[in-house]
Amino acid sequence: MPEQPRPSVLKFENATVSFDGVEALADVSFEAFEGESRVILGAAGSGKTVLLKTALGLIKPDSGKVFAFGRDLTGMREVDLSRVRARMGMLFQESALFDSLTIEENVAYPLLNQKSVACPPDQVHRRVVEALDFVELGETLEKFPSELSGGMRRRAAIARAVVTGPPLILYDSPTAGLDPITAHTIMALLIKERDTARTTTVMVTYRYQDGNLMANFRYNSEQGRLELARNGSRRDLRTTFMVLREGRLIFEGDQERLESSTDPYISKFVKQRE
């Protein structure tokens, strides 16, 4: 029996974004499907963040189209974009927690402000606590972002991104600037979220190790830790790698193809693997 095609979650169709005449994204096309993980590799300034912001509708492409959940974002009004964005979670590179709000208020923000989420006020606190427990920050409710370390802020931002249970989550360099242990903790949380909530994941990073973890590990909910996924055990959760170079998509394919690529730019990323 033929496998049912998965619904498209995010689709770029020849999208080009320019700033002051310089192309940050040039004719980018790809399509991500439900349950899929996308790892987008690229050096600084390659257009990774612009790609995620375009996917969220925060930046409009100069040409081409961007679809999320089958809806064209390019001509959409801000009010309609809000409804689509409510189905996406986003982890910003610098966490982007609101300085003037406590961690509890930060994590509650999407529940209280995204109209289509419609969370009853009496359930907000419970859901915030659940989200913070998920990232093991249950004791930081009353703290302000400035009182937390960089890694803790990143975890709080993950809690804010997942608190509404969005089917698509975008991660902008989730491990950038973190020490290896904290970076591993963050990646474990991302994989835990992907495997427990079955979310579609788009992660941009310059660290190949992060993509390797995403592609080859799964979260064991019984033991509460990551484990190597044996061959065939993650057939339903495909990880696709993409490589961006100066705004252009120069590679799209699985890890095997990525590692066998002879392109010098791509090889530089793969060689990071330890």
Binding site: L58, E78, M90, P110, N113, K115
Partner: protein, 249 residues
Amino acid sequence: MLDLLKAPVLAAQEFFLLTGTAFRNIFRRPHYGDDVALQMDYIGVGSLPIVVLTGFFAGAVMALQMSSALKQYGQVGRTGMVVSITLVRELGPVLTALMVAGRNSSGIASELGSMKVTEQIDAMRALGTDPVQKLVTPRLTATMVMLPLLVVIADFVGIVGGWLIAILFLNLDSRQYFTSAWRAIEMKDVAQGLLKPLVYAAIISLIGCHYGLRTTGGTQGVGRATTQAVVAATVLIFITDLLITKAFV
């Protein structure tokens, strides 16, 4: 030549669009009452000490300067009149606005600029909030409510400053000073004195927000936005002062 004009024209367009949206949002839901109250406290109550000081010394200096000029005509008794007219029509609104611009245009630009460079503005949009509704409109509303009140306080304190000079150094009678000051003020002076702060309030808050929201280039960009906001607000206050005064004279 056209390329040189492109950036300022684009900035002006952005400013007018922001102005239109911010004013329209006053009548649109959601209303962020808590933010308005917070900004009223910060902009209004927070600026009170500096506005009181400025008003007091402006009135006192005005009384001293004018008395020496009036003395030549034997009209020292009219010092109260000159002080009150000058303060209500001109010095009260302009000096208060300049003080608040220095304090709050920069404050707004740096706060919003920091939020912009740390992606908090993007996060706000991503999380379903219109940054203009949440950040700009409350600051505009709060400044437009508080600046006229601050001007009234500055005018009053300035007249008191002039009175102290009058009784201590000019040997004037208190009753004579206050009667002269009170009688000199006409309705059109009050109208002018209250219209000006409303316009200045819009300039101070919107210029601060405009430069804050278009900040680029990290912390250096925040510093640049702050300086530009104060300079632009100050220049615009003087330009609009001339235009409004011309309309009344």
